[in-house]
C-alpha cells in the first residue's frame, strides 16, 4: 500500500507540471475547446493506467505527449488529419532546405494573431512538429519519440512547416487553398 501511494504521488508530481503545455498542445490539435478538454482528460486517464509500463529513466514528457498525440489520432479530427496524410504523401526526404531571408523576416515580424492564423492553417503534421520544436522546445530526438517517426522525418517536417509559415505570411500563397500537398 505504501508503494502504491508513492507511485501515485510520483505520477502526479511528474504529470501535473505538464498539464498546461499538454492542454495548449491539445487545443492546437483539436478543433475546439471541448475536444481539447476530452483529449487532455483521456490522456491523463491512459497515462495513469499505463504508468506501470512507463520505463524509469526514459523521457516522461515525450511519453505523455505521445499518449496525447495518439489519442488525438483516434479522435474524429485526428482521423481526418491522418486520412489527409495518407492521401497526400509528403515526399519527406526530398524536401530541400532553402532560406529566403525576406520571407523569414515576414515571419519574425508578423503579429501574434497573424502567426496564430498561419499556424492554424498549417496541415496538422507540420503544425505539431513546429509546435513541439519551437513552443515545447523539445529536441529532435524527443519529437521523434512523440510522433513515432525517425529524426530525419522530424527535421524535414519542421523545415517544411516553417517554410509554409513563411510563405503564408509573405502572402505568396494560401496553404488552405490546397496547394500545400501538391
Amino acid at each position: 500500500m505504501k508503494a502504491e501511494t508513492a507511485s501515485y504521488g510520483e505520477f502526479e508530481r511528474l504529470a501535473m507540471p505538464l498539464f498546461d503545455s499538454l492542454y495548449n498542445f491539445a487545443r492546437w490539435l483539436a478543433e475546439d475547446a471541448t475536444e481539447a478538454e476530452d483529449l487532455v482528460q483521456e490522456t491523463f486517464k491512459k497515462a495513469l493506467h499505463g504508468f506501470a509500463s512507463f520505463v524509469p529513466d526514459s523521457d516522461f514528457r515525450a511519453w505523455m505527449f505521445r499518449i496525447l498525440r495518439n489519442t488525438f489520432l483516434t479522435s474524429r479530427t485526428g482521423l481526418r488529419a491522418r486520412l489527409t496524410v495518407e492521401l497526400d504523401p509528403e515526399d519527406e526526404e526530398t524536401t530541400p532546405v532553402t532560406w529566403e531571408t525576406p520571407e523569414s523576416l515576414a515571419l519574425a515580424s508578423a503579429t501574434r494573431e497573424a502567426l496564430q492564423a498561419a499556424l492554424d492553417g498549417l496541415p496538422v503534421v507540420y503544425r505539431e512538429a513546429v509546435l513541439l520544436c519551437d513552443v515545447e522546445e523539445m529536441k529532435y530526438q524527443e519529437i521523434a519519440q512523440v510522433l513515432s517517426v525517425p529524426v530525419g522525418t522530424v527535421m524535414s517536417r519542421i523545415a517544411r512547416g516553417r517554410k509554409l509559415l513563411r510563405q503564408m505570411l509573405a502572402g505568396e500563397r494560401s496553404v488552405r487553398s490546397g496547394s500545400a500537398w501538391k
Partner: protein, 263 residues
C-alpha cells in the same frame, strides 16, 4: 558562395541547438565572417521566438485541472507497486525545458555580438551585445513590457521611483511610431528605462541609463545591409540613450531625432 550553401543547410540545426559542439563552434566562427549566413540565422532565431510567443496561446480552464487531479483519486489501483520507492531514477524534466531556451538565448547573444563585431571590429562590442541581449530577451518574454501604454504621460510617471532619473518622451502623433510601453531594465546592476516603440511591424527598443563608463559606446553600429539589426547611441543631459531594433536604419535614425528633440 559554395561554402555558404553547406552552412545554410545547418542554420535550422544551429538555431534548434542540435549541432554537435565542434560544428557549433565552426558555425559560429563562420557567422562572425559572413553577414549572409548571420542574417539568415538571426531571422530564423527571431522566427522561432515569434512562433514560441504565438504558440503559447491557450490557458487551461481551472475546472479541467481539478477534474484531472480527481481522476487520479478515483483510480486507487493505479501502477500497483511497479515503480514505488524508486523516485530517484526519474529524470526531472523542468531543467531540460529551460536549458533548451537558455542555449538559444545564449546563441542569439553570441550571434548579435558576432554581427556587430564583424561590422566594427575594433569597437567595444561588449556593451552592444548586452543591449542586444536585453532587447531580444524582453521581446521573447511573455510580457515584454511592465507598463503597457501608448501615452507618454502615463509611461513617464510610471518610472518615477523605479529609476534614479527622469527623461522626456516625444509626442508621436503624426509620426509613424507608436509607444508600446516600458519596463525597468538593469545594466551592470544599474536600473534604467527600457521603452519599446512600434514601427510598422517592427519593435524598437530604447534604453536610457545614467551615463557611466560602463555604458560608453561608439555612436553607431551598423552591421551591413544584409543584417537585420541597427543600433545607435548618444548622450544628452547626463543620460546615455541606446536605440536598437530590426527596423531599417533610417527608421531608427528618425526615432533617434524625435527622442533628441523631446521636451
Amino acid at each position: 558562395m559554395t561554402n555558404c550553401l553547406t552552412w545554410q543547410g545547418r542554420v535550422a540545426s544551429y538555431v534548434d541547438a542540435e549541432l554537435p559542439c565542434p560544428e557549433m563552434e565552426a558555425f559560429r566562427a563562420h557567422l562572425a565572417t559572413c553577414p549572409d549566413c548571420a542574417a539568415t540565422t538571426l531571422a530564423l532565431m527571431e522566427s522561432k521566438m515569434a512562433v514560441r510567443r504565438a504558440g503559447n496561446r491557450y490557458a487551461a480552464p481551472p475546472e479541467l485541472r481539478a477534474k484531472v487531479l480527481s481522476l487520479a483519486k478515483d483510480e486507487p489501483a493505479v501502477a500497483r507497486g511497479a515503480i514505488g520507492g524508486d523516485r530517484a531514477r526519474f529524470r526531472t524534466i523542468v531543467p531540460r525545458y529551460w536549458t533548451g531556451w537558455a542555449i538559444v538565448t545564449a546563441a542569439l547573444l553570441l550571434l548579435a555580438a558576432g554581427l556587430f563585431l564583424a561590422a566594427n571590429r575594433r569597437q567595444n562590442a561588449k556593451a552592444v551585445a548586452e543591449f542586444a541581449d536585453l532587447h531580444v530577451t524582453a521581446l521573447a518574454s511573455a510580457n515584454p513590457v511592465e507598463v503597457v501604454s501608448t501615452d507618454r504621460h502615463t509611461v513617464k510617471p510610471w518610472f518615477q521611483g523605479r529609476i534614479p532619473f527622469t527623461f522626456d518622451l516625444p509626442d508621436l502623433q503624426a509620426t509613424p511610431y507608436t509607444l508600446v510601453g516600458g519596463r525597468v531594465a538593469y545594466f551592470h546592476q544599474e536600473p534604467g528605462a527600457h521603452l519599446i516603440f512600434g514601427y510598422q511591424r517592427h519593435l524598437i527598443s530604447v534604453f536610457i541609463f545614467r551615463d557611466t563608463p560602463q555604458v560608453a559606446m561608439p555612436a553607431s553600429f551598423f552591421a551591413d545591409n544584409t543584417s537585420s539589426f541597427t543600433l545607435r547611441t548618444w548622450t544628452q543631459q547626463g543620460l546615455r540613450y541606446v536605440i536598437l531594433g530590426d527596423a531599417n536604419a533610417a527608421a531608427i535614425a528618425n526615432l533617434m531625432e524625435l527622442l533628441q528633440r523631446a521636451r
